[in-house]
Amino acid sequence: MADNGIGTSHQANTALIQASNLECKNLYDYLRTRPSTLLDRLYNHPAICLAVYRELPEIARQYVIRILFVEQPVPQAVVASWCHQSYSKEHTHVCQVLSDLFVWHEAPIPGGLPGWILNSTFKRNLKTALLGGGKPWSMSSALEADNKARDVSFLDGYSAERWECVLHYMVGSQQQEGISADAVRILLHAGLMKRDEDDGSPVITRQGFQFLLLDRQAQVWHFLLQYLDTVEQRGLDLGECLTFLFQLSFSTLGKDYSTEGMSQGLLIFLQHLREFGLVYQRKRKAGRFYPTRLALNITCSQNKGVPVLEEDAPKGYIIVETNYRVYAYTDSNLQVALLGLFTELLYRFPNVVVGIITRESVRQALRGGITSEQIIGYLKQHIHSQMLSGDNKNALPPTVLDQIKLWELERNRLIYSEGVLYSQFLSQADFNALKQYAQQTGCLIWSNKEKRTMVVNKTGHDDRKKLEIEECVKIYPNIYNRNLPNEIWCDDADHEHCIEAFQRFCPRHFIIDMMFVKSTTWPVCQF
């Protein structure tokens, strides 16, 4: 199973203390990290404006649509009055989001009051997306009907097969043929797999397991974000690729689009998308391509488990019983492998797999980095429709869900945080002063006034050390910070004088391992 790379005990400690989890950025987080020049270029395309609009918080969407058709800046006070008093915090948050994304910016109105005005590029292109006008993003109107047209079910099958290729590779089942070196590189870059120390072959990581249990839309989005990070290295243009991706996400399923007019870089991007199953092309040089369901609406996967209204969404296949048995009506190797991550498989038949959720199997999963939330989420996602048609609230047996959560909590009975303990302060005033300072800088972990003891986290302590040394060097003319960053030296030939100066200084400050290296010429005080 997943090995946390336990080598030295320090590594183990860090692994126990700071377990890193899969971070899935949503569109807002991703765009916020991009420079504003990129955003300006992106807003020239209606599809991106619409995608960004959809991802805005509810109230932000109302604000934007209200001032979409207004030419002059709107006073900020007026905008603030649109929101109910009790939700004013949400209003400020929403204003921040809109400014971060450069959707609007401040502009003074005649009269001097501050106002908001929509970014003109954004406004123009959002209007185009809604009302028409502008240029189409693909030259499809000139395309003749395809005599080898593909229908929706074929596209679904194709995209499922290609995407599962990648997932199979991650799980390590030798069933499918391997995937291209490009895809492996992306998986390594994303931290979903890492090179094994022994034989150099990629093995799945903790984050990789968590990735596997996400729903498909979230997987695709996360994977694409990682891909876009590497896009510059391949010589492709990030803005172009992002634009194409969004335009693709707004296309219609089952329709073909023309590749005419696409630049070389975009064609390479298209081939990569073809490999991952987001588009289908009969041959590399075919002049048309079909987007598949994976490519549509990629950005809207952020709401956890929002199911699709499509009539042919993937059917659920898992039944969980109150005696912890799991029956999965599937014959896909991938789904069986995923189930095997946290259940103990008992029997396998051509159309059904029987497993049992035991403490051991769940602990194994937990050790591998999967959280109980993910296990429960996965079960909920793929639950058989028959279990849902009964009582909607308790589709999965609550006993089983609670027990999985309890097994997780059992492992987390102790919470560790590395820190430094300060105790035996000479005066209450010192204690209070330092406690306040620690609280302000946000590194105080625990404190007790009666015992005059407090614990500060390591970064706080290191910062404090640096400050102390700087102060010390400033005050005392004969003291220098030489050699190591946590040592101060005294220049004074009179050792006793130095020691006295140190001792006078030290009670107010914090020294560990005060060491007078008498063998050297100069006494040294180590912090």
Binding site: I6, S9, N13, R411, G419, I445, K451, H509
Partner: protein
């Protein structure tokens, strides 16, 4: 002079804390590891004992839990 010590702050429920104190007293981990007993739910321990501590905790959890399903083998 203020006493400064590096280590790990452990937060747990009172029952677990008693268990840790027991481990410390009976030297189950080979040596004493608790630097200071802070309050009912916090302890300050030395940092290098962490891995063996986790193993001992896992053992304890294994001892007090019973498998729900006996396999029919």
């Amino acid at each position: 002079m203020v006493n400064v010590m590096k280590g790990i702050l452990v937060k747990c429920d009172p029952a677990m804390k008693q268990f840790l104190l027991h481990l410390d007293e009976t030297l189950k981990l080979g040596r004493k590891f608790i630097i200071q007993d802070l309050d009912d739910s916090h302890l300050f321990i030395s940092s290098d004992i962490l891995e063996s501590l986790q193993t001992k905790i896992d053992d304890l959890m294994d001892q007090i839990s019973f498998p729900m399903n006996e396999k029919d083998k």
